[in-house]
């Protein structure tokens, strides 16, 4: 299969690579760019562990063809902190016990940052609804929701 050259920005850096038309973004990110923070959990878009931000929007990298990111900007979990300064959502996850095995955590954190960008004053029900596509088997979600709630600018009840 003929490879196609694509150019995109990943975590603030421009990259040019050759990909096959059927290459999935998750494999490019994990195997070619060695950004292993994005996880394979199901390969069929059910678990959310492979979530990355594409031009700021959360996408499932296991369902995204690599060729489609040409000219776009990707943020993976590795690119969320500003140097040594953790993103507020990363901090909130640590402070609220929202991390156990950590395998769902990158996807959870990226989805949560997208949620907070879209809806900075999200209520608990809105958080629960937005996050329901990201599966976690360890925490039971409550501390994850609590962590995201702590990042909401203006606390409102549902």
């Amino acid at each position: 299969m003929k490879k196609i050259e694509i150019e995109f920005i990943v975590n603030g850096k421009k990259r040019r690579i050759f990909v096959k038309p059927n290459d999935l973004l998750i494999n490019i990110i994990r195997n070619d760019l060695y950004l292993t923070g994005s996880k394979y959990g199901c390969g069929i878009g059910e678990c959310g562990a492979c979530t990355v931000l594409l031009d700021g929007e959360p996408v499932l990298s296991c369902l995204t063809l690599a060729v489609t990111v040409n000219g776009k900007e990707i943020t993976t979990i590795e690119g969320l902190a500003k140097g040594d300064e953790l993103h507020p959502v990363q901090k909130a996850f640590l402070e609220n016990g929202a991390v156990q095995c950590g395998f769902c955590t990158p996807g959870m954190i990226l989805t949560a940052t997208a949620l907070l960008k879209e809806n900075p004053n999200a209520t608990e029900n809105e958080i629960r609804d937005y996050m329901r596509g990201n599966l976690c088997r360890c925490t039971g979600y409550v501390q994850i929701v609590k962590a995201i709630k702590s990042c909401v600018a203006e606390q409102k009840s549902d």
């Binding site: 494999n27 994990r30 195997n31 060695y34 950004l35 292993t36 923070g37 994005s38 996880k39 394979y40 959990g41 199901c42 390969g43 069929i44 059910e46 678990c47 562990a49 993976t76 979990i77 590795e78 969320l80 902190a81 953790l86 990363q90 996850f93 640590l94 402070e95 609220n96 016990g97 929202a98 991390v99 156990q100 095995c101 950590g102 395998f103 769902c104 955590t105 990158p106 954190i109 608990e124 958080i127 629960r128 609804d129 996050m131 329901r132 596509g133 599966l135 976690c136 088997r137 360890c138 925490t139 039971g140 979600y141 409550v142 501390q143 994850i144 929701v145 609590k146 709630k149």
Partner: protein, 797 residues
């Protein structure tokens, strides 16, 4: 109760999880070795079929390295070597030599330069199948005389055992006089309960990377709850000296019991790497993973007898478990189920009969509780039924009969017996009832309308590890090396695994507490392996804190002794006259002569002195076997809301009381309890891996699109889930601590079922309680009520 002030135990620190929020944490599937091949596995499409011939010539022509049954050793093993050898059943080889016994069983594997090429090669493998049998899916079918034999014989230790009627093993236990017990009873209740198979659904699928070394050895990264057992098994299977098998400890992406045993893909990866003479990486697909392991189901017929005042007199418990195509741990499972049942209440006279049966389904293994949630559902449902029959409050009946402080218990089965020294059962039932507003609970007859709420209670326990005064059937010890660096920082090398529940944080806190070293100066790094650590059996059986940290504390105290002895030479004083303390201002541990704190030396100075004077390293290595396995208790108060139109059950509120003695990691302790609650809701309301009776395949086809686990919205809201700790201190535990992990799940299903009964007056005996079952039961109840009204009407007429 001993009350102590700790500097690190029970405090919260964030730094240990930083890799997990920044994407830096490495899991087995993140390991990449230059020159590695990618492996994929060919899984059986048939549930029970003879393999005549496997031909992978075409696949090899494509450049792939392939293995089939003839390429793996004949060595018969059990992937779980936690039990002692003479109690371990062995029925498998790396790839099956004669026939497959469940759909999804690995029969061959390919490794190639890319995963895509490996999959393409896999398609070229030709298999000639011999006789095919109809799958044995139901337990009752499997034990019939004319059912096909899944095994003719297996090994128990070194002894050959014939398998009849597909019965893998049996376990019968008698305590007291069961006939006398039931004669004394004034009320007897008996019911049959069924709990289903569910899938662990750990987020990380099972993975392995193997590097063949120049000296004939291997280095392996793999999903595992215990690296030393993987080392021993791989050495035995591939006949490699045990010092040449090096298994790396690496973070686990969830497990819940699914990696207590060495995973089936691990030796497949090794066999490929040895054949290819190159590193091989094998990451299971989710579909392969669902077909790899399952929680044990359980069928229980339970009969209990009691006096009118609620005093229990006898219990007869008969259980059956269908275990799938391999016997991983059915014998200890039956022993533990007996223990969970027998040590929950003072039955006085017990008869227990357990049978494990092979079927052509995915092999079953431990999943958070090892039979505990299964048998707890039967016991705690029947206790509620008994309470109603006796007209005694369910809490009062439990308080009257629970096994508590001073009582002998044998939670881990009949060979591991010890005395309970700490118990928060009474406090949890009484305080939990207040928080849950138990006194406002009304009977089902008072509930009206479309949405009906009910409150249920259930209690459970799990052992902290498997230790007893005498070693039993289970191997249980842990170890560590602790060394002080020249700047006063500390390294802890232990094979102890962390599932994400905070075991490593607990290790660091225990070491910090003993050595008075600031928490952030205690390093428990991932770059350890079987070569650099001493044995640790496994992080299973809720033993991480009690046994693992117990050993760590033991070693840390030895280091403290060395340190004080050396400091004594510097202070020209006796070690007992010196005090070790944490000086937070300096960010160092300090030692000073008692009463003269200003004459301190920092640990850094002392260690540096030991270094430059060539005194030697301040370090110690040892192992410890805990001689007890204290029960950690749990009590669940659950409120449900049953939608009588849709059959859906929601859980708006829960009060969960836990007894773990001293709590080392408060946030993760609570997190484990809430996480278990979520998995418990999946177990009680949603999940089941159903099989197609004809094909023997999973109805979900291995896709999690059709295997739903709880999400954010199934959980109560943040303020509506109340978790509280009992005020207890376990005298045999490190700083008074016991476990929590598996206890946290044991009574969720039972409390949910009891709450549903309180809401709609219908008792469910089979899990999961799905909307379909609820609607069907409501309809039946309505018809029965109509019928009885009609009969009453007839009489009036």
């Amino acid at each position: 109760m001993e009350k102590q002030q700790y500097e690190f135990i029970g405090k919260q620190f964030d730094i240990k999880n930083i890799g997990k929020v920044t994407g830096k944490e490495l899991y087995s599937s993140d390991i990449n070795i230059p020159g590695q091949l990618y492996a994929v596995v060919l899984c059986s499409p048939y549930p029970h079929a003879e393999i005549k011939k496997i031909d992978y010539t075409e696949a090899e022509k494509m450049g792939a390295i392939c293995i089939g049954p003839d390429d793996v050793p004949d060595y018969l093993y059990n992937e779980r070597i936690v039990s002692i050898p003479e109690k371990t059943y062995r029925d498998r080889t790396v790839l099956p030599k004669d026939k497959v016994r469940h759909i999804g069983e690995a029969i061959a594997a390919c490794a190639a330069e890319t995963e895509e090429e490996a999959f393409a090669a896999l398609k070229k493998i030709k298999i000639e199948w011999g006789k095919k049998w109809k799958p044995l899916i139901d337990l009752d079918e499997a034990i019939k005389d004319d059912a096909p034999s899944i095994y003719d014989c297996v090994y128990l230790g070194e002894e050959k055992v014939d398998i009849k009627n597909n019965i893998a093993c049996e376990r019968n236990i008698d305590v007291g006089d069961i006939d006398k017990g039931f004669k004394e009873a004034e009320v007897v209740v008996e019911r049959t309960f069924n709990t289903q198979r569910i899938y662990h659904m750990q987020l990380e699928t099972k993975s392995a990377v193997c590097v063949p070394e120049a000296d004939g050895g291997i280095t392996v990264w793999t999903t595992s709850q215990g690296i030393h057992n993987v080392r021993i098994l791989l050495g035995n299977i591939f006949n490699i000296p045990l010092n040449k098998v090096n298994v790396k400890r690496i973070t686990l992406g969830g497990s819940f019991g699914s990696s207590i045993q060495m995973n089936s893909i691990t030796p497949i990866c090794v066999a490929l790497a040895l054949k290819a003479k190159r590193p091989v990486k094998l990451v299971s697909t989710r579909e392969d993973d669902i077909y790899d392991h399952s929680k044990y189901p359980l069928k229980t017929i339970l009969k209990i007898g009691a006096k009118k005042d609620g005093t229990l007199t006898a219990a007869h418990c008969r259980v059956w478990v269908e275990i799938g195509g391999h016997n991983i741990q059915a014998y200890p499972y039956l022993g533990c189920v007996a223990g969970w049942f027998a040590s929950l209440y003072k039955w006085k006279n017990i008869k227990y009969e357990g049978t494990a049966v092979y079927t052509n389904k995915v092999p079953t293994c431990a999943m958070q509780g090892y039979g505990n949630p299964q048998i707890n559902f039967a016991v705690e449902s029947l206790m509620d039924i008994l309470a109603e029959k006796l007209d005694i409050d369910p809490i009062e009946l439990r308080l009257k009969n629970y096994v508590g402080k001073g009582d002998e218990f044998w939670g881990q089965g009949p060979t591991v017996r010890s005395i309970i020294r700490s118990c928060g059962v009474e406090e949890m039932l009484i305080e939990g009832a207040k928080l849950a507003e138990w006194e406002k609970r009304t009977p089902p007859s008072k509930k009206k309308g479309e949405l009906r709420r009910g409150i249920g209670v259930a209690r459970g326990f799990h052992t902290s590890g498997t230790g007893g005064p005498n070693p039993g059937e289970v191997i249980d010890y842990s170890g560590a090396t602790i060394k002080i660096n020249e700047d006063g920082s500390v390294d802890v090398l232990t094979a102890l695994m962390d599932h994400g529940g905070g075991t490593w944080d607990a290790v660091a806190k225990v070491v910090a507490e003993v050595l008075k070293v600031p928490y952030e100066k205690v390093g428990i790094y991932n770059e350890v392996d079987t070569r650099t650590t001493v044995f640790d059996v496994n992080t299973h059986a809720t033993r991480g804190v009690y046994c693992g940290c117990g050993a760590v504390k033991f070693v840390a105290e030895k280091v403290k002794e060395m340190l004080l002895n050396y400091a004594a030479t510097l202070f020209k004083d006796l070690p007992e006259n010196l005090k070790l303390a944490c000086n937070k201002k300096l960010g160092q541990a300090v030692i000073y002569p008692r009463e003269i704190p200003e004459n301190y030396m920092t640990l850094g100075e002392i260690a540096e002195h030991a270094h430059i004077t060539s005194w030697g390293a301040i370090a110690y290595t040892s192992t410890l076997r805990q001689k007890n396995c204290p029960p950690c208790f749990i009590t669940h108060f659950v409120e449900v809301e049953v939608n009588t139109k849709t059959g859906e059950v929601k859980v708006p509120r829960a009060v969960i009381m836990g007894d773990s003695g001293t709590i080392i990691n408060p946030d993760l302790w609570e997190g484990q309890i809430i996480g278990a609650f979520s998995r418990g809701l999946g177990f009680s309301l949603l999940e089941e891996t159903k099989y197609d009776l004809n094909s023997g395949g999973l109805e979900c086809n291995g896709l999690i699109t059709d295997y739903k686990i709880p999400t954010t919205v199934e959980m109560p809201k943040v303020d509506n889930i109340i978790v509280r700790s009992a005020h207890t201190y376990e005298p045999t535990g490190p700083f008074g601590a016991k476990g929590i992990g598996e206890a946290a799940l044991s009574s969720v299903g039972s409390a949910v079922a009891n709450a549903i009964y309180n809401a709609i007056g219908i008792r469910f005996y089979d899990l999961p309680i799905t909307p379909e079952k609820v609607l069907k039961a409501l309809k039946r109840k309505e018809e029965e009520e109509k019928e009885s009204r009609r009969r009453v009407g007839d009489k009036v007429d």
